[in-house]
């Protein structure tokens, strides 16, 4: 199905199932331990051996020699594959780091061997017996030191945010110089780790030249192509299966060392191999959100109209890596005739920087929305009002291009009302509650909506059960449920008459989970397949297709009504289709919007920041399942609190690695950090997005949250921290005199 004109009325608009807060259909399996994650799939293939991955102990240089004698004779060892056994392997899609093969070490904890043994403990113990001789080389590990020489580089995040090396509209320098009110500030955001609960894990089995990977991966079709490329085998010879994923946040968009080394280990061992990356390996072996150094300049007239805006960002990465696209949202969020955006990329020898939830947008919005708060203060304007004043309904770089639907103003107004923003004293440092300094902050949330083709197959059987198959993934988001809701709505059956099967590369290729594009595109693909299945049903039953109504397990036309199941009495009816898109995303800017409101308390003595209240108001088209959408947003808000207050991979700038590479050292919020969270979705549809009229929410939810926290900290303390996260050491010297 080609979607190239705005959606009109269709069966989804009935909203009998879609749009209703619905429990996850896979929830029962998850809570009862019967949803098996990659490492737990003991039954998919017999005789599984265990693999353990050894990481490099240097950040840059060469492996000169590896001494395996002791490891080979250790108890239980079946096979050892080292990086010196083969030339450097190809890279998969969208990855900068080479995962295995050859002596060259690009970054700390790069995989250099896999040990396969009868038990996990034996594999691990043997891996520690491998002695490695290195020839280390000096590397570049300090972004601040390299930034001055970083060239302008444009690129996209692979998840929708992008920018050329430099964008100029009007005359930024002239307008900024002439502006009466100006802001020129610099900010930094740290390297961050996805820190998802389930580590990267894979079971690999070869059957002749046919490889099956039971793995944990967000993007099955990419994964299939990538593993084939890395191993140099035809893609048709590979099957990936990933029905349950314990979080990804972008870490599992790609094929990484777990899959490659499980496959190589299984080949060498001549039996299936199961392995997971050990937690202390993940921060340095895999990808992370790269640190940024950003500068923002804003000029405005005294009425608060922005006349000039510039956002520049520098990040680092391995050679062939991308810049963090932190300026992308500033291109679109606020009006202003004179504009400058620029991205610079410094070569670094730290592990690979790549997509993490809202890549580019999250650190970019963190900084932009603090700068906007600072500017509002300079102008003596309420920060909500200042944002409303500079709202735009057109793409500021391209005035002919309108937003398909944009209600940021609605989010801000409703949020302000619900949060009690009018109670906020415009002066910082005025509110105290016992030993807490209390402040409120606001920020806009803004993330684009991506359209990407997505296919599905649907089957009706004689019991009236509708089975959906697509390689779409559910990374904890609720894909199973919204897909079931879509099929139920389209075929006029109850939810319990729908079976959803996901994550298998033998199913039609979907949009996958990334860039908050999963929900809208994957359900639109299911919609397309269901349209075809409806046609097949109608034909089978001899109905006139135009007026057939699918409802309550029946198909009705005129005064004739037949059981839907009857259409399959002579055999299953199967239909397959995909949604693909025309030009609507080019002619119109599709985005999602939010207003984030946060109240914090800052301990007057210690500077500890604790969030007291949070509210997000989101405008993201039709909300397919308000229950799972809310979960997405509160999860993202929590992650935003982490970014604002604690998450930071600490770089050892001499040795070139992230030091706090486990979950004791890399702190993310715990339950005690997160207070009551409210989420409100504006009741809206976007007919330009797809027949579902829906957009994504999962990354919208994190964009801007951190800035709202930072703005609240400023409001509480009068201290503007511009290097994130805001830990107490950055406040302590500037807090009011101790009591």
């Amino acid at each position: 199905m080609r979607f190239d004109t705005p959606a009109t009325t269709n069966p989804i608009d009935q909203l009998k199932v879609v749009g209703k807060p619905t429990d996850r259909i896979d929830g029962r399996h998850k809570t009862s331990g019967t949803a098996h994650y990659a490492y737990e799939r003991h039954d998919v293939v017999p005789d599984q051996a265990y693999g353990f991955v050894l990481g490099a102990a240097i950040a840059k240089g060469q492996v000169a020699a590896m001494h395996l004698e002791e490891a080979k004779t250790a108890p239980g060892v079946v096979a050892i594959v080292t990086t010196l056994d083969m030339p450097r392997l190809e890279r998969g899609m969208m990855n900068a780091a080479y995962l295995f093969g050859g002596p060259v070490i690009q970054h700390y904890h790069q995989a250099i061997a896999v040990v396969v043994a009868e038990t996990f403990e034996q594999a691990r113990a043997a891996a520690y017996l491998i002695r490695v001789d290195y020839e280390p080389e000096a590397g570049k590990f300090d972004l601040a030191a390299e930034a001055p020489n970083a060239p302008l580089v444009g690129d996209d995040s692979g998840e929708g945010s992008s920018g050329p090396p430099e964008v100029r509209v009007g005359d930024f320098e002239g307008a900024f110089a002439a502006a009466e009110i100006k802001l020129d500030e610099s900010y930094t955001t740290p390297d961050e780790s996805h820190a998802m609960m389930e580590p990267h894990a894979t079971i690999a089995a070869w059957d002749g030249d046919q490889l099956t990977l039971w793995t944990s991966n967000q993007m099955i079709a990419w994964g299939k192509r990538s593993i084939a490329k890395i191993l140099g085998i035809p893609a048709q010879k590979v099957r990936l299966d990933s029905p349950y994923i314990g979080g990804g946040f972008g870490a599992k968009l790609f094929i990484r060392a777990d899959a490659v080394l499980a496959a190589l280990g299984a080949k060498a061992a001549q039996r299936p191999v199961k392995l997971a990356l050990a937690r202390p390996l993940i921060a340095n072996n895999t990808t992370h959100r790269p640190a940024t150094m950003q500068r923002i300049r804003i000029g405005a007239n005294p009425d608060g109209i922005i006349t000039a805006i510039a956002h520049e960002s520098t990040s680092g990465n391995l050679a062939d890596g991308k810049p963090e696209t932190a300026v992308s949202q500033t291109r679109l969020l606020y009006a202003g005739a004179n504009r400058l955006m620029a991205m610079r990329l410094a070569p670094l020898d730290l592990p690979e920087g790549n997509a993490m939830r809202a890549p580019g947008e999250a650190p970019g919005m963190m900084v932009l929305e603090v700068a906007i708060d600072e500017m509002a203060e300079k102008l003596g304007l309420d920060p909500v009002q200042f944002r409303i004043l500079n709202d735009t309904q057109i793409d500021p770089e391209n005035p002919d291009r309108r937003f398909s639907h944009r209600d940021l103003v609605g989010c801000l107004r409703l949020g302000a009302e619900r949060f009690g923003w009018d109670q906020r004293n415009p002066q910082p440092t005025q509110v105290r509650d016992g030993h807490w300094l209390v402040g409120m902050g606001v920020a806009a949330g803004f993330r684009n909506n991506l359209l990407t083709k997505s296919a599905a197959r649907v089957r009706l059987d004689r019991e009236g059960v509708v089975t959906v198959e697509t390689d779409m993934t559910d990374i904890g988001t609720g894909s199973y449920t919204i897909i079931a809701q879509t099929a139920a709505e389209m075929m006029g059956v109850a939810l319990d008459k729908v079976v959803v099967r996901l994550g298998d590369s033998s199913f039609p290729a979907s949009a996958g989970s990334g860039g908050q594009w999963g929900a809208n595109n994957a359900t639109a693909g299911v919609y397309a397949a269901c349209v075809k299945l409806r046609e097949a049903v109608v034909q089978q039953l001899g109905f006139n297709s135009a007026d057939a109504v699918f409802s309550g397990g029946d198909v009705r036309s005129g005064n004739r009504s037949v059981l839907l199941a009857d259409a399959a009495s002579a055999g299953d009816l199967v239909a397959e289709d995909l949604i693909e898109y025309g030009n609507l995303a080019k002619t119109h800017q599709q985005s999602t919007f939010a207003a984030h409101f946060v109240e914090v308390g800052v301990d007057a003595a210690t500077g500890e920041v604790r969030v007291r209240r949070m509210l997000a108001v989101c405008a993201a088209g039709r909300i397919l399942n308000p229950k799972s959408a809310r979960s997405q947003v509160i999860g993202a808000m929590t992650m935003g609190v982490g970014a604002a207050l604690m998450e930071e991979l600490a770089v050892d700038k001499r040795r070139g690695f992230f030091v706090n590479h486990d979950l004791a050292g890399y702190e993310v919020p715990v339950h005690a950090d997160i207070p009551h969270q409210d989420v409100i979705f504006l009741d809206e549809v976007d007919p330009m997005s797809s027949p579902m009229k829906a957009k994504g929410v999962a990354e919208l939810g994190i964009c801007g949250v951190g800035a709202a926290v930072a703005n609240a900290v400023y409001h509480a303390t009068g201290i503007r921290v511009r290097d994130y996260p805001i830990t107490l050491d950055k406040l302590i010297d500037r807090l009011p005199e101790a009591v």
Binding site: P280, R610, M646, V659, T727, I732, A738
Partner: protein, 316 residues
């Protein structure tokens, strides 16, 4: 993890003898620290002597009027004990500020006293660390050291002792009761139990090889307001950046010990006379010899401010 042999001991003397007998042997109690370190091969015992069956899991009144806490009493049980909550609230609060409910259910009194540092380089066997591998150097000195010590540090090591419980025991002046492999028992004042790093940061306590902790004794109740204030980056489940254990009386006199700043719970009795004069003078004495790094210099003002908050809380 290296392979090891395992046995269960039935009496303290037997346990101590078993460890003394086998080179590389260690006691194991709750295992919440030792097993983690074994998985990473930071600790590689050849033999484990399980002390969980020694029946050292009761809290009894001590003859001098205090409480005698068996070495195997779980952190959860100790924190919940009515006598501890009433008379030694600082200890109960310190315990509850540590780890998580699950870990406290398992962690023992002796194991908690002996838990090892959380210096990130200590945890990465690819990095030099004098504590893990004597003579290899200290990666933290000019590395990432935000969590690490500022006082009592040496050129060989700037690690901190991460225990919350031990800070409270130090302010209460507990004593540690042990039995040596030969069957001889002794008591070690908590002040002398943990050592400063000096040139031998791998030697962390006064215990001799095979010496088994059998109890920790608290002196008779001290009264006063008892406060444990743990400062950290998130609200729970994190080690202290700085912590303050305090016993403060109506007249403003009292005692104070610090966590998160040194290789041992940090207390200087002489400084306590100045408690009524407020946090500044006391902190000046407590941290007189401080040698913070660039990363952890904030701990000095943090100590002073936290102590100030504790004193004012105690007097309100």
């Amino acid at each position: 993890m290296r392979s090891f042999t395992y046995e269960r001991a039935n009496t303290p003397g037997e346990a101590a003898a078993a460890v003394a007998r086998t080179p590389g042997a260690r006691f194991i109690a709750g295992g919440t620290n030792l097993l983690d370190l074994m998985k990473l091969q930071i600790e590689t015992p050849t033999h484990l002597v399980d002390v969980n069956g020694l029946k050292l899991d009761t809290i009894e009144p001590a003859p001098e009027g205090g409480l005698r806490i068996g070495a195997l009493v779980r952190n959860t049980d100790l924190a919940a004990d009515e006598r501890v909550r009433r008379d030694y609230a600082v200890l109960s609060r310190a315990l509850l500020a540590g780890a998580s409910g699950q870990l406290r259910n398992r962690a023992t009194t002796a194991g908690n006293l002996l838990q090892r540092t959380r210096c990130p380089y200590f945890y990465d066997t690819a990095q030099p660390c004098n504590k893990r591998q004597p003579g290899s150097g200290c990666s933290a000195l000019d590395g990432v050291s935000r969590q690490l010590g500022i006082v009592g540090v040496s050129d060989a090591c700037i690690a901190t002792n991460p225990s919350d419980m031990a800070v409270a025991m130090r302010v209460l002046d507990a004593t540690v009761e042990t039995v040596k492999p030969g069957g001889v028992s002794r008591t070690i004042p908590i002040a002398e139990f943990h050592r400063l790093p000096g040139d031998t940061p791998h030697v962390e306590t006064a215990l001799e090889a095979g010496e088994l902790i059998i109890a920790v004794t608290l002196p008779p109740p001290l009264g006063g307001r008892q406060i444990y204030r743990k400062v950290r980056d998130r609200a729970s489940y994190a080690f202290a950046l700085v912590s303050v254990a305090a016993v403060i009386h109506q007249d403003g006199t009292g005692r104070v010990a610090l966590g998160g700043v040194a290789h041992k719970p940090w207390r200087i009795e002489a400084a306590e006379a100045d408690l009524p004069r407020g946090p500044k003078v006391v902190t000046e004495q407590l941290l007189a010899d401080a040698k913070p790094t660039h990363d952890n210099a904030f701990k000095r003002p943090l100590v002073e401010r936290t102590l100030g908050a504790v004193i004012s809380q105690a007097r309100n």
